[in-house]
């Protein structure tokens, strides 16, 4: 079997005095799409943040291996350079910083890391225009400051546009669907599908089964109170939609 892109073993983590993740196990192989669902506050964003390298969490146990290396050892920027991408649940505004400039800086960091020559402004613009087609993003996204003055839905769409430019190996989408209107949802989902390749993987966090009609997962995991309490195929999402999390928590289901 090929080497997994991500292996999470027994990961426990939290913030000062509080455990949020309580022993997570998850393996993601190339070409796979995994969905994580779970009630508010169950730890989904925490998991995403820890994978992306946000400061302020204590890892109390377990390990995370990304493409054969210890992910938790790497600085956040190095994880990004190695191909870990997080589409934020709440994208951050950077006033005054032009989106194209920002993306070019990001993309060139990755190119440098791969030992490739950096793109100059002209080369980058040509490249970025290509990538824009994947997402049908309006031209003015390039000119505006990063997320500044964007509507909630535009911010989410911009995240996926950045993903299209940076071409990650492991993309983590944290509730990218929330805030998108129906048309935008379809455009974003189509974009995400077009970015899917046999050698990359996607971890999609969502509350809604609807998204999973467009981005069809190979696995659905149910995260409740810091633990994956059930894992199944795409039909699990339908079951959740019908019965809610209660039935799973109290239905005596065996943790995956």
């Amino acid at each position: 079997m090929t080497q997994p892109i991500l292996t999470i073993k027994n990961l426990s983590a939290g913030v000062e005095g509080r455990e949020i993740l309580k022993g997570i196990n998850l393996t993601i192989r190339p070409g796979e799409v995994h969905a994580v669902m779970g009630p508010n506050g169950s730890g989904k964003s925490t998991l995403a943040s820890i994978l992306a390298g946000r400061d302020g969490y204590h890892i109390t146990g377990g390990e995370v291996v990304y493409c054969g290396q210890d992910l938790l050892e790497l600085e956040a920027e190095d994880r990004a350079r190695e191909g870990v991408f997080l589409a934020f649940q709440y994208p951050v505004e950077i006033p005054g910083v032009n989106s194209t400039y920002f993306l070019k800086a990001a993309y060139n960091e990755i190119r440098k890391h791969r030992g490739q020559p950096e793109f100059d402004a002209v080369e980058f613009l040509k490249f970025v225009r290509e990538r824009m087609k994947i997402l049908e993003v309006p031209e003015d996204f390039l000119k505006r400051p990063v997320n500044h003055g964007f509507s909630g839905g535009e911010k989410k769409r911009n995240e996926i546009f950045q993903m299209a430019v940076l071409d990650p190996k492991l993309a983590i989408l944290d509730e990218t669907d929330s805030g998108l209107d129906i048309d935008a949802l379809q455009i974003v989902a189509t974009g995400v599908n077009r970015l899917k390749r046999p050698d990359n993987a996607q971890l999609v966090i969502t509350h809604y089964q609807r998204l999973l009609n467009f981005i069809v997962p190979d696995y659905v995991h149910v995260l409740v109170d810091g633990r994956i309490v059930r894992t199944g195929g795409k039909e699990l999402a339908l079951e959740l939609e019908e019965n809610g999390y209660e039935s799973i928590v109290h239905g005596g289901a065996v943790p995956a």
Binding site: A52, G53, R54, D55, G56, E75, A76, E77, R79, A80, R81, F85, L86, F88, P91, V92, I94, P95, G96, V97, N98, Y101, F102, L103, A105, A106, Y107, E109, I110, H113, P145, Q162, L166
Partner: protein, 482 residues
């Protein structure tokens, strides 16, 4: 403390790049301040009697003035008897004839500062007057400017060559008795730049003065006077650096701008005096009075300043809007890192009808830096339809620094519109993490965020200097958070 803050904490300290000292023979007055020293300065400069009297009047008034206590800055009392008021590189005491006569050591100094003065590698499109300690060592492109009738020379030279202009305008915007430091400057000023743009002339290149403090225990007291006659246009830039020293040094300059009917003056400053070390030892006290007057109708004066250096900055470049329809602008970026303190802002005095002013101030505080915006918008009774727009933003990096805003508004005319906006924001861990997640390391992220924040001001600077200002800001931010 979280990791990203630590990372910013640990950012490499980059040394102040211009901290070197040029070992050159000098001629100087004995330290201390009294009428004899003033007479000596005036004599050295072969000044006419009226100018000596002007200086003495300023001095006598200064003796009666208390040090201003109102700025939000703290520093030990300055011993004015311990300062040397006149230091000239030996070879230039008679004033330079041409750049060819300038001591090669001085030319080398300016090369090192990135301001080549030689004919062959001068900055294109920028005429430079280089002031070293108390004297101007040379002015470039004089001939080319002369062909257009533009006078651009050292102040000392202007006193000799154009005494009628100097006498007419000196002190006409900032009187000798204006304030403590202006009075001190008026008594002991040594050199500076003089510039006159004749009627209807668009100055064909940027004019700039580069101020360099070199000698220890000396002060720099320069005087700049710019007159834009009817329908003329000039863009002027000043830059400043000083060696790294443990003692504080005083820089008390006066700048006066005069714009006649339909004239426009754009004055940009990139101030990079030595800021002191990270513990606040040494650095320049930058106590400067800058004021312009829009005398004529439809005239315009625009100040842009990027203040990254100095241990203490105290300056309020202002515009007196006397002519009807005149326009005053103030764009400022003031950065305080480590132990730097800045109390800066502007004064817009609306006198004429339909006068407009715009104030954009961007304060950045990092380390233990303290940054105050202090601004006055005053609209007099006859200033019908005066407008002001002020925007004062503060950006905090880390949690040991401070930002303060003191806007004063005095309106005596009911048709006035004054708009004031203020904001305070923090370079957040969220922003830094967001950038990190996009492969951009904390150091670069902070620079990017700060540059983005200053964009409105940078775009006012002449192109070449906008790039320099950005780099300067990046360097000044190194090791910025504590």
């Amino acid at each position: 403390m979280s990791k990203s803050t630590d990372t910013i904490d640990e950012l490499v300290k980059q040394e102040y790049k211009y901290g070197f000292y040029t070992d050159i023979e000098t001629e100087s007055a004995p330290p201390g301040l009294n009428e004899d020293v003033i007479r000596l300065i005036s004599h050295k400069k072969k000044e006419p009697e009226w100018l000596l009297e002007w200086r003495l009047k300023a001095y006598r008034h200064w003796l009666t003035m208390p040090t201003p206590e109102w700025p939000m800055v703290n520093y030990p009392e300055i011993d004015y008897q311990d300062i040397t008021y006149y230091v000239a590189p030996g070879s230039t005491s008679d004033g330079p004839k041409s750049i060819d006569d300038v001591d090669p050591k001085l030319l080398e100094t300016y090369d090192k500062l990135g301001i080549p003065l030689h004919e062959r590698d001068r900055l294109l499109g920028v005429a430079v007057d280089a002031v070293f300690d108390s004297v101007s060592v040379g002015t470039t492109f004089k001939k080319e400017l002369g062909e257009k009738g533009v006078i651009f020379c050292s102040f000392s030279e202007a006193v000799q060559e154009h005494p009628e202009l100097v006498r007419k305008y000196l002190g006409s915007v900032v009187p000798q008795t204006d304030n403590f430091y202006a009075a001190l400057n008026s008594a002991v000023f040594t050199d500076g730049s003089f510039c006159y743009i004749p009627k209807g002339v668009r100055c064909p290149m940027e004019l700039s003065t580069y101020f360099r403090i070199n000698a220890a225990k000396s002060g720099q007291f320069e005087r700049t006077l710019i007159i834009a006659d009817e329908g003329s246009h000039v863009s002027y830039l000043e830059g400043c650096t000083a060696p790294m020293r443990d003692e504080n040094q005083l820089h008390a300059a006066v700048v006066e701008l005069i714009a006649m009917d339909n004239a426009e003056i754009k004055y940009s400053t990139v101030q990079n005096w030595y800021p002191g070390d990270e513990n606040g030892v040494g650095g320049i006290y930058n106590f400067v009075t800058k004021r312009g007057i829009c005398r004529g109708v439809n005239s315009k004066i625009s100040w842009t300043q990027v203040e990254t250096g100095s241990a203490i900055t105290w300056k309020y470049p202002g515009v007196i809007l006397q002519g009807d329809n005149s326009v005053g602008e103030f764009y400022s970026v003031a950065l305080t890192n480590n132990c730097q303190q800045a109390d800066t802002g502007t004064k817009m005095i609306h006198i004429g009808k339909n006068t407009r002013s715009t104030i954009i101030s961007k304060g950045i505080s990092a380390g233990r830096g303290q940054n105050s915006y202090r601004g006055l918008v005053k609209v007099l009774k006859n200033a019908t339809n005066a407008r002001n727009y002020s925007q004062c933003d503060s950006l905090l990096i880390g949690d040991k620094c401070g930002a303060h805003t003191f806007p004063y508004i005095e309106v005596k005319n009911t048709s006035t519109q004054v708009e004031h906006e203020a904001s305070t924001s923090k370079v957040g861990e969220d922003q830094i993490f967001y950038c990190a997640q996009r492969a951009i390391a904390a150091e670069d992220a902070v620079k990017m965020i700060v540059n983005g924040y200053c964009k409105e001001v940078f775009k006012q600077l002449p192109m070449e200097f906008a790039v320099e200002a950005q780099n300067l800001l990046s360097v000044s931010l190194e090791g910025s958070v504590g």
